[in-house]
């Protein structure tokens, strides 16, 4: 028996966390890496959800646990990493109940049928994610034939169709080309086409624009947005670039040291950020109004070592609004500051409502 989560049961919780349109709901996810030197809590109690047609941006600097979060969701965490707590609810079909993906063996057939089929990944570096000795066509065809019982010819047709969809010029010819013969932008288009091969319900993009130049970045972003809204795809978009988030996301989750420090609709995050970390991140974005040759504000200090996490709020050693005796003693909890906007900070603890 696999545990399922009915909508009714979920609504009995502290909030109506899940609705009919929810595709993915992550609750209290904890993923650890047990090494000889100690245990790194890469993801430490992360909760968020993604609805149909919604783009959720996960923002944070390197090492904050963004990638580990999505690898946990897909069940591709490699040893010595391990999910130790939390649930990952996913709706396989519309109008069906949500299932907990953690109840499946991550290498088992059921989970493999979900990966690439229902949940697809657009990786960070297309160059490294593509095999240099297999043709683009070979890898595209493989993506669909792992899940659909169709002939190679039919699969090739789908592949050409998807390449056309993502704006690949002369897609038929590109089938027999190798990854290193394509430009960075085209390579990323191949990855997007590959992710779309099986018409997934959830698309996970892991910093898909980091490895490409700014002009191409804009093209890839608008392509993703187009495809996403046309098919009402649910999408998780991971980035460290708040400018990119502003362009693509509907809802933003800000992470710091494996924890969610703030989450809310994109407008709330950008216009009324609640957490000092989010504020600092926003302040460090150059705008057209920033005077030339002026240093951008930065966040002082550096990321603590993963084995040596600070007590209390993980951000307090670098925080401008640090309250001695509180922030370094007690860990703050996520607190609602409006119906959809929550912050994990003592500055907002007057309206203490636990949203866990």
């Amino acid at each position: 028996m696999r545990p399922t989560l009915t909508i009714e049961r979920c609504q009995l919780g502290s909030e109506s966390f899940v609705n009919n349109e929810t595709i993915l709901s992550v609750k209290g996810l904890k993923t650890e890496f047990v090494l000889d030197e100690g245990t790194a809590k890469a993801v430490d109690g992360v909760s968020f959800k993604v609805d149909r047609g919604q783009v959720v941006g996960i923002v944070g600097e390197s090492g904050c646990g963004k990638s580990v979060t999505i690898k946990s969701i897909m069940g591709i965490i490699q040893k010595p990493g391990k999910i130790v707590e939390g649930r990952i609810f996913f709706r396989l079909k519309q109008n069906e109940e949500l299932v907990d993906l953690r109840s499946y063996d991550s290498r088992g057939e059921e989970m493999r049928n979900i990966r690439g089929n229902d949940i697809a990944l657009i990786p960070q570096e297309p160059m490294a994610a593509l095999s240099p000795v297999h043709t683009i066509g070979n890898q595209l065809v493989e993506a669909i034939r792992l899940h659909r019982n169709i002939s190679k010819k039919e699969a090739e047709k789908v592949a050409v169709e998807r390449m056309r969809q993502v704006g690949m010029p002369s897609p038929e010819e590109r089938m027999s080309v190798y990854s290193w013969q394509l430009s960075g932008g085209l390579r990323q288009r191949v990855m997007i086409a590959m992710a779309l091969m099986c018409n997934p319900r959830l698309l996970i993009a892991d910093e898909p624009t980091t490895a490409i130049d700014v002009t191409t970045q804009a093209q890839v972003l608008s392509l993703l947005r187009e495809l996403q809204s046309a098919q009402e795809l649910a999408m998780i978009f991971i980035t460290h670039d708040l400018g990119v988030v502003a362009q693509i996301a509907d809802y933003v989750v800000v992470m710091y040291l494996g924890k969610v420090v703030e989450k809310g609709p994109v407008d709330d995050i950008f216009h009324s950020p609640g957490h000092p970390y989010t504020k600092a991140l926003l302040a460090s974005i150059p705008t057209i109004h920033t005077p030339a040759r002026e240093e951008l504000p930065t966040i002082g200090g550096s990321l603590p070592h993963p084995f040596n996490r600070p007590m209390g709020c993980p951000f307090h050693p670098r925080c401008a609004a640090f309250i001695p005796g509180t922030c370094d003693k007690i860990p703050p909890t996520l607190t609602k500051i409006s119906s959809q906007h929550s912050v994990s900070c003592f500055l907002h603890s007057e309206n203490l409502v636990d949203t866990q």
């Binding site: 591709i76 493999r112 990966r115 990944l121 990786p123 994610a129 095999s131 240099p132 000795v133 290193w180």
Partner: protein, 329 residues
């Protein structure tokens, strides 16, 4: 691909020319020529040769001419399929080498197949189950394999077989087939004998290749394309075989270039110990008896095998890796 192979084939004559010069210098290196040693040998056994015969012999081999002319005559005869006559055996060299060359190549190819058939699974297993009990076991086994000289293995096995089971395991044929002409029965007899020298000769290479493959694979197993294949929902064993093994094979295939000649020439001592009818022991004997044209021909044959080995590994590599294929075509 065809252009690539043709380009490689075109370098063959040049390589063989250079090697033939080298082989000729080797022939000429010892003092005196072999007519002098031939005459000396005959004189020692009591018979005498008159000057006419000596001159005729010198003329036959062109020894009265300058070195470069001698070289061209030697090469000219070679190109016309005349390898000359072995002084020691008093037989045409082609007759002496013919069957031995066939058996040498057969044994070499069998050893190569054995090496890859054993090294591939061990390497893949060791890398994917790093630090497991069997990985440690294979590591120890591999170091022993690399560290033990092959002739030593041959001697130990011969001694074991004789002292424990009372059988001799030398040669490639049973006595009744040794000098027979080829027949099915002889082929079957060969297959009964060839596996032991094959295993002995292949042990060292197997150990080396398994180590190389393990190290290469460990590099590949953490690459992002592994994660991508997992994210596509590919079964683990299938993705390991399709992507990292394929990429880790490249350095292994390029090692073929030096491994193949090594099997051929490295078998000299083992072949002598095991009394195999390959060209190795023949080279040894020709060197001892100063049968220099025979020795020269064998050395040139080794060069030829090395060139073919390298060529094969280049072609195989180009076939495996499109990056090499397209860069060089």
């Amino acid at each position: 691909m065809l252009a690539f192979i043709l380009k490689r084939l075109m370098t063959l004559p040049l390589l063989m020319f250079i090697f033939s010069v080298l082989a000729f210098i080797l022939i000429q290196a010892p003092p005196g020529d072999f007519v002098t040693s031939y005459v000396a040998e005959l004189a020692a056994s009591g018979s005498s040769v008159d000057q006419l015969q000596i001159d005729a012999l010198r003329q036959l081999y062109g020894l009265d001419q300058p070195a470069y002319m001698q070289y061209f005559k030697w090469i000219w005869r070679m190109l016309h399929g005349d390898l000359g006559i072995s002084l020691d055996f008093q037989k045409p060299i082609s007759e002496l080498i013919g069957q031995r060359l066939l058996l040498t190549v057969l044994l070499g190819v069998a050893t190569l197949i054995f090496t890859f058939a054993v090294a591939l699974p061990i390497g893949i297993f060791s890398a994917t189950r790093q630090y497991s009990f069997l990985d440690y076991f294979f590591t120890v086994f591999n170091y022993v394999g690399v560290a033990t000289p092959t002739f030593m293995t041959a001697l130990i096995l011969m001694w074991l077989a004789f002292s424990q089971f009372g059988i001799t395991i030398t040669g490639l044929f049973s006595p009744e087939f040794a000098d027979e002409s080829w027949s099915w029965a002889r082929v079957i007899d060969l297959s009964k004998h060839i596996w032991l020298p094959m295993v002995i000769l292949g042990l060292d290479g197997t150990a080396r290749l398994a180590r190389i493959l393990r190290a290469n694979l460990l590099d590949e197993l953490n690459k992002p394309y592994m994660e991508m294949a997992r994210a596509k929902g590919m079964p683990e064993w299938r993705l390991v075989l399709k992507y990292p093994v394929r990429l880790a094979l490249n350095p292994l295939v390029s090692s073929l270039g030096w491994y193949l000649p090594l099997i051929f020439s490295g078998s000299l001592i083992v072949a002598t110990v095991l009394n195999l009818p390959t060209i190795g022991p023949l080279l040894l004997r020709s060197l001892i008896s100063q049968d220099m044209f025979l020795a020269g021909t064998i050395v040139l044959t080794y060069f030829g095998l090395a060139v073919i080995g390298t060529l094969l590994s280049d072609i195989l590599l180009a076939w495996l890796d499109p990056r090499i294929r397209m860069e060089e075509a």
